[in-house]
């Protein structure tokens, strides 16, 4: 559980970096509207994470295991993530939701989906399909809340009288650090 939380938090951290726009990652970049960009990323994750978890589980248990092809698990996982991420991106762009520009958007989405997908599938967390579904939805939802909270928090801190040496990145890191501190309260909630 806490490792899942840790992954979630790092996903949020990386996503914030992508939303804020890092030089070189944004050919059509717009740095304004952190919240709208976060919303786009959240939509994509809400599609991609459950999609990755479910499709991998189906492929793994129904196809690969049945055909004794388990050694193909890793390449299949990679291919599925790429497909799921692309589908999610396509849907989000089609819907006209504002989202960060490529390649930051795709890279972040793929990395997060992969990390969360592995976390959900490995270990004893996903003992049944229903549980996996629940976990995937929970992880995507938690990611959504944390990312949106971080985005609005960024907007608030932007107008705060932050001392010059702490402006921008440092205060962002401190915020995420304190966010993680708050999340420590979840330790022990669900036995690993």
């Amino acid at each position: 559980m806490s490792s899942l939380l840790l992954i979630l938090l790092s996903a949020v951290l990386v996503s914030m970096v992508a939303i804020r726009g890092v030089e070189g990652w944004r050919p059509f970049a717009d740095t304004a509207d952190v919240y709208e960009n976060a919303m786009g990323l959240v939509h994509a994750h809400l599609i991609a994470i459950p999609l990755v978890a479910i499709s991998t589980w189906i492929l793994d248990t129904l196809v690969l295991a049945a055909l004794q092809l388990s050694y193909l698990r890793t390449p299949a996982f990679v291919a599925l993530i790429l497909a799921a991420v692309s589908i999610a991106e396509l849907l989000v762009r089609r819907a006209g939701t504002r989202a960060p520009a490529r390649p930051a958007f795709t890279m972040v989405l793929a990395t997060n989906s992969a990390l969360l997908g592995i976390a959900l599938l490995s270990g004893q967390l996903a003992s049944s399909f229903a549980r996996l579904l629940l976990l995937a939805a929970g992880a995507a939802g938690a990611f959504a809340v944390f990312l949106l909270a971080a985005a609005t928090l960024y907007e608030r801190v932007r107008y705060a009288d932050v001392p010059a040496p702490f402006k921008e990145a440092p205060i962002g890191l401190i915020s995420v650090g304190l966010m993680a501190l708050g999340c420590m309260g979840f330790i022990g909630l669900i036995p690993e």
């Binding site: 740095t31 299949a76 396509l90 520009a101």
Partner: protein
Amino acid sequence: MTALIAFVVMMSLAGLSLLANRAAANGADAAARARLIERINDLLPQTQCGRCTFAGCRPYATALAEGSADINQCPPGGDNTAEALAKLLGRPPKSVDPQFGVMPPVPMIAWIDEPACIGCTKCIQACPVDAIVGAQRHMHTVIAADCTGCELCIPPCPVDCIEMRPATTSATEVLGASRPHVLSG
């Protein structure tokens, strides 16, 4: 047999992901570009005056999105627009370059000296925002509220009967109208 199935599964998965990725990439680039142009255009004053050296606001927006124009080329928008563009595009802020024109301190709109107007309609054709009305051989009038002050109607006029005059509608009036708040009125 197993090897064959494995091959097929892998190939189809790879194909699927490649296909989806291509589609997403195309959609993403085109959509992001169109959206950015739209957002830039939204920040421009829509005078269509061409002072930026482009043929209107949208062409300038397109050039900005492609990176082939700078943010300081719009005199009617002034430093506020330049600042908004800088923020949107993540470029360092700049004030407007006077080589593209200097705006008068108060907003100006076109005014036609009606007795002198010969009704040639040349200015009507030149007005990009349909702010001049009048028929052939009848005098023309500028709709003050619709004029953006682009000055495009001035060069075509054969009798030089158009001049720029200070606009009367100002923000303070708008503010006054929207402020019915004096108590026990």
